[in-house]
């Protein structure tokens, strides 16, 4: 009689553990999907901002007209991109262009005294940061899901129910070409020397 009880308890515990494991996998996978969509939300937000940004910048930086054109064209390409690869390439071009604008803003002190320019700088900065952090959040979610899928004993559940590992978001090589300029003014060593004055 008590042998039966022991078996029953073991079965209940095993089933309970399996349920918890399955649910946690579902939760983590949904987090990954949500995080992926969040990146898209941020990218679209940037699309919406660009027309106004370009209008505002045009008045101050005629010398950067090439960069502005490049950004506008890249935006059009991103919106009408047929597949993921060309979409990503276009987004990276936008990032590159806006990054250059930010760097240039730093090199013209007379710009910094203008409140509108400062406001613009803040908008550009936070837009790029929000995109970057949403990508980071996606990668963190992927890491959590993959770790759970690989760990024992949850890997038993994962294999049985078809949970697959997710792929990390990779930055494109063009991303690395964006000049990393240390824009902080409150002390601390600069990361790279500022570009030479034009």
């Amino acid at each position: 009689m008590s042998g039966l009880l022991v078996v029953l308890i073991i079965v209940i515990v095993a089933v309970g553990w399996a349920v918890l494991g399955y649910n946690s996998l579902v939760r983590l996978r949904n987090q990954v999907q949500n995080a992926w969509r969040q990146i898209d939300v941020q990218l679209r937000r940037r699309h919406d901002l660009i027309p106004n940004l370009v209008e505002a910048v045009k008045g101050y930086m005629q010398f950067e007209r090439d960069t502005l054109t490049q950004v506008v064209e890249a935006r059009a390409k991103a919106i009408s991109a047929p597949d993921q690869a060309s979409r990503m390439a276009a987004e990276n071009q936008i990032t590159g262009g806006l990054g250059r604008l930010l760097a240039v803003m730093e090199n013209y002190p007379q710009l910094k005294s203008d409140q509108n320019v400062l406001k613009l700088q803040e908008e550009l900065t936070t837009t790029e940061n929000q995109i970057a952090f949403s990508r980071q959040a996606y990668n963190d979610s992927v890491m959590q899901l993959n770790t759970r899928i690989e760990s024992f004993p949850t890997n038993l559940i994962a294999n049985n129910f078809g949970f697959k590992q997710a792929e990390y978001f990779q930055g494109a090589p063009e991303d690395q070409a964006v000049p990393k300029v240390d824009l902080s003014m409150g002390g601390g060593a600069p990361q790279t020397p500022p570009p030479p004055r034009v």
Binding site: Q115, K119, E122, N129, Q130, F133, A137, K180, S184, G186
Partner: protein, 350 residues
């Protein structure tokens, strides 16, 4: 506890383990004192080798603590904001817009809902977060923080505050407060019971039917003495434990700030800047001090590294926190880890 190859993930894991341990000790202390009390003065007894009876006093003390905490749990945020005279940040004011943006960024990095952001009119750079869960959280910065810190430093500070939100630190500290209040009440029971029954002895019990078991002679007297000793020491230890938990959560929030920004330099520079300013916060009190990123009270400067001073402090010494962040920074070769090429621009100085 400086370790050679540690990243912020490892620091976070370690801190969470230590918090769990501290909370277990807390619960054990509370239960021991409570059951000891119920044994000596209440209905608990050992009859025929097994535990019987209802731990009434333990449960009353627990209920008392829970009631106190529920009040602050539900009404807490509004009360706190009113007590520091916080006002909402105004979008389109450049300084405020930067803070709102950084709050947004840190919420993204932390994978949390965006908390409401408030401003305290105080020249000392500081910040706090409060709220019972991530959906009802707020962060508050001081005018001093906005005026003195650049964007990178504000990111570090707000990352730390988002960490408190994500890790339910406010709720944890409320739970600890329940246990501390409960232990104080139990100790109070002991004093009152001693007063009324006239001493610790082994025999002063109402129901004589249980005389054969836990109250005859030596056993009863021994338990009585133990209860007294515990009653004296427990509130003291409870306070120490609460402070230890608070300090662990602060270290955890520092590590999590690095997890969010991927930039140890951000919080490091912010803490160094705070270390340089001397002024205490005007609107902080003993009750609210623990919520701030750096202890805001005068004379409680977190640079006291003395053992005793540290034991009773809600925050770890600033120097120690800065050290840990520097170790993380050196791990990454002195460079800030880039989160996909994000830029950290300085705040527009007003």
């Amino acid at each position: 506890m400086a370790a050679a190859h540690t990243d912020f993930w490892e620091l976070e894991r370690r801190n969470r383990r230590e918090t769990a341990l501290l909370v277990l000790v807390f619960i054990a202390l509370f239960t021991t004192l409570g059951f000891g009390l119920d044994f000596r003065f209440g209905d608990l007894a050992i009859v025929g080798g097994s535990l019987t009876g209802f731990p009434m006093l333990t449960l009353i003390a627990l209920g008392f603590g829970i009631f106190q905490s529920l009040l602050s749990y539900y009404g807490g945020t509004a009360l706190v904001l009113a007590s520091v005279q916080a006002r909402e940040l105004e979008p389109d004011t450049p300084q405020h817009q930067m803070v709102l943006d950084v709050v947004h960024e840190m919420a993204l990095a932390a994978r949390m809902p965006v908390p409401k952001a408030y401003l305290m009119n105080d020249p000392s750079p500081n910040a706090f977060a409060t709220g019972r869960d991530p959906n009802h959280s707020v962060v508050c910065v001081t005018q001093g923080l906005i005026d003195t810190m650049d964007r990178e430093e504000v990111q570090g500070v707000l990352g730390h505050e988002m960490a408190h939100v994500r890790d339910y630190d406010i709720r944890t500290m409320m739970m600890i407060a329940v246990l501390v209040a409960g232990i104080a009440m139990l100790a109070d029971f002991v004093y009152r019971s001693m007063w009324y029954t006239g001493g610790v002895g082994g025999g002063e019990r109402r129901s004589s039917s249980r005389d054969n078991d836990n109250n005859s002679g030596n056993a009863g007297a021994l338990i009585g003495v133990l209860v007294i000793v515990l009653a004296v020491l427990a509130p003291f230890f409870a306070q120490l434990l609460a402070m230890a938990v608070s300090r662990e959560r602060e270290y955890l929030a520092d590590a999590a700030s690095v997890e969010f920004t991927r930039n140890p330099r951000a919080l490091l520079r912010a803490l160094e800047r705070i270390a340089q300013t001397e002024s205490p916060l005007r609107n902080a009190s003993r009750g609210t001090a623990h919520m701030f990123i750096v202890n805001p009270l005068q004379g409680a400067r977190d640079d006291n590294e003395g053992f005793l001073a540290n034991l009773f402090s809600t925050h770890p010494p600033l120097g120690r926190r800065i050290e840990r962040l520097r170790a993380l920074l050196n791990e990454t070769g002195g460079e800030a880890l880039p989160p996909d090429g994000a830029a950290a621009a300085p705040a527009p100085r007003g």
